[in-house]
């Protein structure tokens, strides 16, 4: 799948920029969970993407399902970065914050840059709401916002006014205030409301009254920008389309991409997809997405727990489907014993870990990449298994295909590591063209011939054993967790045979190492002073910071691992071409520890476990500290 993976990165090979508000703008919508913030943000993202901008988004919602209104912990936010240049992160700072209540302002003011724009719904700043939030005085009046450009608007009453003629109650009319706000923001970005209107019509086609109210509010907000004299320091943003590669696009988040990719992978392997899972944040949307693919033949099974979920997937694989199970850290921990069974029985199986903050229940809604040890080493016995990780949402689809390909080609369980950030963030994604050689089918050949059939006979190239599924005449055999006699697969307690089988399981990974693409350099030269080595979702911030530093003439290269285990065989040689190798990772140094055990190149680790991806400036600081400000 080398081509497939390359392909997804190059659609986003765009110029890098350092000039906010010229090349890119970072907007954050924030308000009560009930204010429709996620929908508003998604619509602006969609509209920007359609216009041709590059986008990166970061939905950030409360852990509580129905948090009380007006509280800080009940604030829901949606951040997005809209660019003419390549945007790979949602941005360190906010250029414009839309705060629909005092709690939203209080929670997110800190992230707004100096002289940034604050759009505020004054109607929500009642005395009660202000004190509830913990402000001692009204921030709109006490001068505390003097280093920002403030645009206080009566959003709620303007919405009510706009909808007066519809005959809706004031309460119902107020529900559309997010659309009024979106109308204004669209005006601010010099965008028309047409796409959103179209979307509203479709979304509410069964409730024409609601559709009409929302469209009226949207148009009113837009018109407000048009006809009202805004303060002179409020200017509109003109972000030109990004020079994306030509083609058909949609936006996609990592969970959707992974679910569709796994289905595509199973399909290209000429297998049915069986997805067994137990709900857990942030992996549940994988289950929801596969459940919607039933008409396409995908089987989804919500099991009684994570153990049953993986076991059902293993059973389905034994019976000839591609078994897949997905979860997050705590659930993966429960699956551990069964993963060992899949390794022992050498059945194809894909395990997706959408990582979140740990240990234990940890930070369920926050991102982290701290399950690497668990993935590579977290089992009893010598139990090797390949581990791969997409770098960003747009790569998840191809990684799903890659997972299916490796698991079936080598007859092995395989783990895919994504994380809460990749899972929820969306980006423009060039739709796959299945006639592209990158998606050439790799149909699985199941065993049918009894002549010389041995269930534990290994193909010398792939180290795969034959896959003989129940229902096939004359190939009846028994498998299980007890050690197998090489060849016959009968139970064997023999020490020599165990040594041999342990070796065979290790050789399976060696075979995979030979078949994966050599490690390439993401940006920068193939040798130099500094290599930033990343994996998974640290891709965005590393990429942005490294490319900017390179523009400044610094010797920085970005190397990003997609195949974490086995490691690409050329990695050691590649890394040894750099004076220093620094690994920024969202854990306490796990990849660095893994690499130290595998190669002689010194690596340094920088850890960030703050429940969010690295900021670009944090990576820039790593570069500066390593190379000096001007080298």
């Amino acid at each position: 799948m080398q081509n497939g993976l390359e392909h997804s990165t190059t659609t986003r090979e765009l110029p890098v920029s350092q000039q906010p508000e010229v090349d890119y703008v970072r907007v954050r919508f924030a308000g009560d969970s009930g204010d429709g913030i996620q929908m508003t943000g998604t619509r602006l993202a969609e509209s920007a993407a359609r216009f041709g901008n590059d986008i990166a988004t970061f939905p950030d919602f409360p852990a509580d399902i129905r948090a009380p209104s007006g509280t800080i912990y009940g604030v829901s936010a949606y951040s997005l970065n809209i660019g003419h240049t390549e945007v790979d992160t949602f941005g360190d700072e906010t250029d414009a914050l839309v705060a629909l209540n005092p709690a939203a302002l209080r929670k997110y003011l800190e992230g707004v840059k100096q002289n940034g724009l604050l759009i505020i719904d004054m109607d929500a700043f009642t005395e009660r709401a202000i004190t509830k939030t913990g402000f001692s005085t009204n921030p709109l009046e006490d001068g505390s916002l003097s280093s920002f450009r403030v645009l206080p608007l009566e959003i709620t009453s303007n919405t009510e006014k706009a909808l007066k003629e519809t005959g809706l109650s004031a309460k119902d009319a107020r529900r559309s205030k997010n659309m009024w706000t979106l109308g204004l923001v669209l005006w601010l970005f010099e965008r028309s409301t047409a796409d959103v209107e179209h979307w509203i019509e479709q979304k509410f086609h069964k409730k024409p009254d609601v559709a009409k109210a929302n469209i009226m509010a949207l148009q009113a907000g837009h018109l407000y920008g048009e006809v009202t004299d805004l303060p002179p320091d409020v200017s509109r943003y003109r972000i030109q389309p990004a020079p994306l590669m030509e083609g058909e696009y949609r936006s996609i988040n990592g969970n959707e991409g992974m679910a569709y990719g796994l289905y595509a992978g199973a399909t290209l392997a000429d297998l049915e997809l069986f997805y067994g899972s137990y709900p857990i944040t942030p992996a549940s949307p994988l289950l929801h997405t596969v459940a919607k693919l039933k008409e396409l033949g995908a089987i989804s099974f919500q099991a009684e727990d994570e153990i049953a979920a993986i076991c059902a997937a293993i059973g389905a694989s034994y019976a000839g489907h591609l078994g897949v199970t997905g979860s997050s850290g705590p659930g993966i921990a429960l699956k551990t014993e069964a993963i060992g069974l899949a390794i022992m029985t050498e059945l194809p199986l894909v395990i997706v870990n959408v990582q979140r903050g740990g240990p234990s229940t940890g930070l369920p809604t926050k991102t982290e990449q701290s399950d690497l040890f668990q993935a590579i080493w977290g089992r009893n016995g010598d139990a090797p298994l390949p581990v791969i990780a997409p770098a960003h949402p747009g790569e998840c689809f191809d990684m799903g295909v890659e997972a299916a390909k490796l698991a079936t080609k080598h007859m092995t369980p395989l783990m895919v590591l994504t994380d809460g950030y990749i899972a929820n963030a969306s980006a423009p994604w060039k739709l796959p063209d299945f006639s592209d050689p990158a998606y050439a089918p790799f149909p699985v050949k199941k065993a049918t011939d009894p002549e010389g059939f041995l269930p534990y006979d290994h193909d010398p190239d792939t180290m795969a054993r034959p896959w003989a599924v129940p229902g096939t005449a004359d190939l009846m055999h028994r498998i299980g967790g007890l050690e197998k006699q090489a060849g016959s697969g009968n139970i064997s307690y023999d020490g020599e045979n165990h040594q041999l089988m342990t070796q065979i399981r290790a050789q399976k990974l060696e075979a995979i190492a030979k078949s994966i693409p050599p490690q390439h350099v993401e940006s920068g030269e193939a040798t130099g002073k500094l290599a930033l080595l990343g994996w998974g979702s640290s891709w965005g911030p590393i990429r942005v910071a490294a490319r900017r530093a390179e523009l400044e003439g610094k010797s920085v290269s970005h190397i990003h691992l997609r195949h974490l285990w086995p490691l690409p065989p050329n990695l050691e040689e590649l890394l040894s071409g750099f004076d220093r190798v620094i690994i920024p990772e969202m854990n306490n140094g796990q990849l660095a520890t893994v690499l130290r055990s595998q190669m002689d190149v010194p690596v340094e680790s920088v850890s960030c476990v703050k429940g969010r991806p690295f900021l670009v400036r944090e990576i820039a600081k790593i570069i500066e500290d390593a190379l000096g400000a001007s080298s």
Partner: protein, 342 residues
């Protein structure tokens, strides 16, 4: 019908249970029943957990999967959902099925996927050398309970009823005449059939079921129920079960005493849920017979059939799937980027 003989269902491996273990008899009944019913080797899948009893798939010439402790129902469910044409059997023990795997057993029984779950109840952990199990009798002394257990034992049939099982049967390992037809009925049942086998462990719990098995006295302590038949039992067929007069529950009575006749006795109705609960519990107190046979059987929605609604009528080809997937991906808003967009 194939012309396979019982021995054709035996694999080439030597059976390695202790001599005299009750598991042999169950294996034999199973081989015979499968041969009699014309089962095909390739369509039969035996799945088990861990324990002495869970070794059974190795001794079958069919497909087999000896999995991990307690998880066999889940693995079997996945296999059956993937291939509904398979005849799927789960073999489990009282520890495997009711201790570590209790949750999976509960949910398998509740879902009612078409498979058979045979639980070998020897009231002990055999494979790990004799610790008490969730079905061990109270006060039992074992290496892990030198002073005798203080736990209440679990009654597997009662557990199955609680879980919503639609087919519940009980038999004794060596009573092939009872066990054979039960295995056959379990196989024929369209749903999850739960069969508890009272199995003797000669090494760690020898003789716990002797009073039930005893050729002479056994019939006084057991009753084999049959749908539509009055509940008569005993060595001399002189005992019976009736509804407690003026009350709720069952009464064990002697015929011809106090003017009780066969007409006063209960007639077994295997579709009667409340009766099944009462029958499952009988035998827990002195003087009560342990009930054997099919305690409960009720046709209900089979999980596999229900869960397949909405799947394509027949599997889609690779090309069809890719076409559908392309359309699904494009159900979201899409847009075109032209060459000269910049």
């Amino acid at each position: 019908m194939t012309d396979l003989k019982p021995k054709d269902f035996a694999s080439s491996l030597d059976v390695r249970w202790c001599p005299g273990c009750g598991d042999y008899a169950v294996l034999k009944s199973l081989h015979k029943m499968l041969a009699d019913t014309g089962a095909k080797l390739e369509d039969t899948l035996c799945v088990s957990g861990i324990g002495c009893s869970s070794r059974l798939p190795y001794y079958m010439a069919t497909y087999g999967f000896h999995t991990i402790h307690g998880r066999a129902p889940a693995i079997a469910s996945g296999a059956k959902l993937a291939n509904p044409d398979l005849d799927v059997w789960v073999f489990t023990g009282d520890g495997d099925g009711l201790s570590i795997g209790g949750n999976h057993l509960l949910h398998a029984l509740r879902r009612n996927l078409d498979m058979q779950i045979v639980l070998f109840n020897n009231q002990i952990y055999g494979l790990t050398k004799g610790q008490y199990s969730p079905t061990s009798q109270k006060g039992m002394r074992t290496p892990s309970s030198p002073g005798g257990t203080v736990e209440m034992p679990l009654n597997p049939a009662r557990f199955a009823i609680g879980a919503g099982s639609k087919f519940i049967a009980r038999s004794i390992d060596t009573q092939a005449k009872v066990l054979g037809p039960i295995l056959q009925a379990a196989r024929d049942f369209d749903g999850t059939a739960f069969v508890e086998v009272l199995q003797n462990c000669v090494i760690f719990n020898d003789g716990v079921f002797d009073h039930l098995k005893d050729k002479k006295q056994g019939p006084d302590h057991t009753i084999v129920v049959e749908h539509g038949q009055p509940m008569v039992f005993g060595v001399n067929k002189d005992k019976g079960i009736r509804v407690k007069p003026g009350g709720f529950g069952l009464d064990i009575v002697s015929l011809e005493e106090d003017g009780v006749t066969e007409a006063d006795l209960l007639v077994h109705d295997e579709t009667n849920h409340a009766l099944a609960v009462a029958l499952a519990e009988l035998g827990e107190k002195d003087g009560e017979p342990t009930v054997l046979g099919i305690l409960f059987r009720e046709q209900a929605t089979e999980f596999g059939t229900a869960s397949r609604i909405g799947l394509p009528e027949k599997p889609l080809s690779m090309t069809e799937k890719l076409i559908h997937l392309s359309a699904t991906l494009r159900a979201a808003e899409t847009w075109d980027v032209e060459e000269d967009a910049a």
